[in-house]
Every structure is written in C-alpha cells, then in structure tokens.
C-alpha cells in the first residue's frame, strides 16, 4: 500500500495533465492539479529549511570540521527568517510588503546578500581565465576547432571584434568577427543545441510514460529506506 498509493497518484495526475492539453473538458482539472503542485511547492520551503537546520545543527553539535561555517549559515538563516516573518522595521507594519524599502529584510538583502552573491559570481572570471589557459590547448583537430571557435566568440563579444575586422568589405561581411560569432551561435551551436533538446525531449517522454504506467518506481526509494 505504501508504494501503490503514490504510484496511483502519479499515474492519475500524469494522465490528467496530458489529457488537459488535448481535451478541453479536462483543462479545468489540469489547472487544479497545477494549483495543487504550487501549494505542495510551498511546503518544499519548510522541508528545505528544516533540512538546513538539521544538517548544520548536527555539525555544530558534533563540532565537526568547519562547524564555524555552519554557525554562520544558521545565524544568517534565522536572521533573514526573523526579519521576513516579523517584518522587523517594516515602514508599513506587519501587513505591508516584506520587501518594502527601509525594512530590515530588504536592507539585509540589498547590503549583505546582494554584494556577497555578486562577489561569488565575480570570482568566476578568475577561474574561467585559469581554466581557459589550461584547457584550450590545440592537442588535436577537435581541440583546435574548439579553440578557434572560442577565440571568435571571445572577440565577437567585445567591441574590439568590430574594430579589428571593420575593414572587410560589406560583400564579405560574414567574415567580420562579430558576424562570425553570430554565425557560430546561430548555425553550429543551434544545430547542436536542437539535437540535444530533441534527445532530452524524447528521454522525458519515455521517462514520463514509464512513471505514468508505474514501470519506473525508483523515485519512491527502496523498501529499506
């Protein structure tokens, strides 16, 4: 029973959602199921928050390696949670928007979360440069093609690409670096992406059918869990 009920729910919801696309009478049911999904998605936040507290709480309790980071994580989590739940310093009071300017939540977001997140992303520039230096080596034919494509795209994404090849006559404009970069994106890249997308779509269809028919049950976990 523990396994049958989830399989029946999955089959029913999957079938109705497919039917709702093709048969107007089932459209309303499809909408209702979408709303159920959105409600369930809200509970994922509780689950995620609970899991975060459990894992980092355990680390702090056991004084595991780098437990200090866990303490910072939990402090940040509870501070943001309190600021959002109780709308601390919110100009409009408890009934107003949590993101109102001047509220503690929005201040923490603007002055701590935002710069920290941006700094983390900015570090990518350094790692991309280091990785490019090590990875882009013309070791064979394929790697050389990749290297040339990378060069064109890198130049094409800067104004220097325009300046460097502006002298090329209009009838050969495809050879101008920005146009070559666009061609790479809209021809070879497009063909590759479409092939991958079609492959993924076929995979999703077959996996969905397996789920709806109850053949695929790994999402339920094992009986031992």
């Amino acid at each position: 029973m523990k396994r049958k009920i989830p399989v029946i729910i999955t089959s029913l919801v999957g079938t109705v959602l497919i039917l709702s696309v093709f048969f107007p009478p089932a459209e309303r049911m499809g909408e209702d199921f979408s709303i159920f999904f959105d409600i369930i998605a809200v509970f994922a936040f509780f689950l995620g928050g609970g899991n975060l507290v459990r894992i980092h709480g355990n680390k702090i309790y056991k004084k595991a390696r780098d437990w200090g980071f866990s303490a910072v994580t939990l402090a940040g989590f509870f501070l943001m949670l309190a600021a959002g739940l109780f709308k601390i310093a919110n100009p409009g009071g408890i009934a107003a928007d949590v993101t109102a300017q001047g509220s503690l939540f929005q201040m923490l977001y603007d002055w701590i979360f935002n710069p920290l997140g941006a700094s983390m992303y900015a570090l990518l520039a350094f790692y991309v440069a280091s990785a490019s230096y090590r990875a882009f080596r013309a070791k064979n034919k394929e790697a050389t093609i990749l290297l040339i494509a990378a060069f064109i795209i890198l130049l094409g994404r800067t104004p220097l690409g325009v300046y460097a090849t502006a002298w090329i006559p209009e009838q050969f404009s495809l050879m101008q670096i920005p146009n070559l970069a666009i061609w790479i994106m809209t021809a070879p890249n497009l063909a590759g992406q479409r092939a991958i997308m079609i492959g993924i779509a076929l995979g999703v269809i077959s996996m969905s059918l397996r789920l709806i028919l109850g053949v695929e049950r790994t999402y339920l976990g094992t009986d031992n869990e």
Binding site: Y109, F151, T158
Partner: protein
C-alpha cells in the same frame, strides 16, 4: 583621461603578457596566481579609468528594442525577475533597461518573479528606476509588483488561464481588483509582451514553453551570457529577441540612449562593464596563446 587610461591599461597588461610570452617560448608554464593578478588588473583598470566603447545593437537585441518601441502606447508588458543576487550584476542592467524603456513608451508594466529573490529585486528596481526616473508614474495605474509565487513553471501553467487563481493581491497585500492596472486582465493572454530576465531554472525557456507558446504571446528575454547559447533554438519564432550577457545589455542601453536623449545621464552599467569585459577577454585570449606556445615548445623538447 579616457584615452590615457586606455593607454596605461594596455601598457601595463601588454608588458606583463609579453614577459610571459617570452617565458612561454622557453617552454615555461604560467602559475595560476599570475593569471589571477592579470585578470584583476584587466577588470579593475578600465573601471578606474572609465573606459567605455561605442556599441551597436545586433539584430537579436534590436528585435527586443523594436518590439517594445512598436507596441502601441499603453500596451501591457510583463517583466519577470527570474534571477538572484549572484546573477544580478550581469542581468540587472537588462531588466532596468526594459523597465525604463517600457515606462518611457507609456506602457503598463507588471513586475513579478519566478525566483524568490526576484521579489526583492523587483522592489529595488521600483525604487531605483521608477521612483527616481519616473516620479509621475502611479503605482497600481502605470505599474504593479505582483511579487513571487512558489511553483516554478506550475505558476505559469495556472496564470496562463487565470492570474487570480495565483495572485489575489499584489506584493503589498492590495486586492488586485482594486488596482486600475488590472482592469481587463484575466490571464497572461491579456499581456502584449512577456519578458523574462534571468539565466537559470525557471527562466526564459519555461516562459516560452508554458506561457508564450500555449498563449500565443510574444516572449523576449535577457539572459546571462553562459545560458544564452541554450536559448538560440527558440529564436526568432518562439523567442522574438534576446539580450545575452553584458554585451547584450550594453547594446540595448546604447540603443535606448540613441533614441531617448533623456536617458543620456542615467546609469548605464552595461556599457560601463563592457570595458572590463573587453580587456578580460583579451587577457584570456593572450593566456590561451601563451599556454599553447609553452605546450608546443615543451612537446618539441620532449621529442
């Protein structure tokens, strides 16, 4: 000052790269920390000297600009903030430019987010763009912030037929039916243009698949450079245009500045960031060349 900065940048970085090129000819590799120093210089010097370049909108960017420009005044434009702080420096210039352009054209703007962080970003955009540059625009009449709802593409699946099944109030708890901007709006199908700014999941792809395609509503987007290649298969039929990375944002800002002189003095972070990006790209390319030279020299020595 601009030219002097450019010359100093090239001299400092060029001399260093030349030194490592000579070392590469001896088959010597470059340490990771050296690359980090050069990238640091490449991104900081153009910011210090305010190095900017002239930008021209490419067709894929121009298509978005033209769409907003050619919509009749008072059209309904929805902007979805589908990103977080980590992606903000790259895509925020796009969302701000879309918002600025739409309001300048007199369109009605609906803000929302499929990412939880989108709600705060939309609030910041209202404060930094709408309140400062368009003080005459009235909340609830000219623009509204619908906020964030959990459910990813599930939210789109519902609001494509009925917005009020997900959003009974705006972000501040005001009944949607009491806002004039919501008059005649039943679902996303009543929008004239959907714009998603982001680069992850859920994002532009979900807007196309769950809103644009089923509702036959034009979709445009702004995406982080790393995600842009994944969206090209949808252009131009399902995605009318796309701003890819800082370059896309800079092109859009340049186009906006060209046609709307009143925005000449507004912040243009896209154009500003193209200086560091250009120099960083050049440094990366130089290191790729240096890496290949040292690789071939070392291989020849090994025989």
């Amino acid at each position: 000052m601009n030219n002097l900065g450019l010359i100093i940048s090239f001299l400092v970085i060029g001399a260093g790269l030349l030194w490592f090129l000579l070392r590469a000819l001896q088959g010597k590799e470059v340490e990771r920390r050296i690359i980090f120093v050069f990238i640091g210089l490449a991104v900081s010097v153009p910011i210090l000297f305010s190095i900017t370049f002239a930008e021209k909108a490419s067709p894929i960017v121009k298509a978005v600009y033209d769409k907003i420009e050619n919509l009749p005044d008072g059209s309904r434009v929805l902007i979805s903030y589908d990103y977080g702080p980590s992606m903000a420096p790259e895509v925020e210039p796009m969302s701000n430019a879309f918002l600025r352009h739409s309001l300048a054209k007199g369109h009605k703007v609906y803000l929302m987010g499929l990412w939880a962080t989108g709600q705060s970003i939309a609030a910041t955009a209202i404060d930094s763009v709408v309140r400062r540059e368009f003080p005459e625009k009235v909340y609830g009449v000219d623009f509204v912030n619908l906020g964030y709802k959990a459910g990813n593409q599930g939210v789109l699946n519902v609001i494509i037929t009925d917005i009020r099944k997900m959003y009974l109030t705006d972000v501040g708890g005001i009944d949607l039916d009491s806002l004039p901007i919501m008059d005649g709006i039943k679902s996303l199908r009543n929008m004239n243009l959907l714009m998603s700014v982001g680069g992850g999941f859920p994002g532009i792809k979900e807007w196309i698949q769950f809103a644009g395609d089923p509702g036959h509503i034009p979709v445009a987007g702004g995406s982080a450079a790393v995600s842009a290649p994944l969206l090209y298969p949808y252009y131009p039929t399902q995605l009318l245009g796309l701003l890819g990375g800082i370059k896309g944002a800079a092109e859009y800002e340049a186009e906006l500045k060209r046609h709307y002189p009143q925005f000449a003095d507004t912040p243009q972070p896209g154009i500003k960031m193209m200086g560091p990006q250009t120099l960083a790209h050049l440094v990366i390319m130089a290191f790729i060349i240096i890496g290949n030279i040292s690789f071939f020299v070392a291989r020849r020595r090994r025989g």
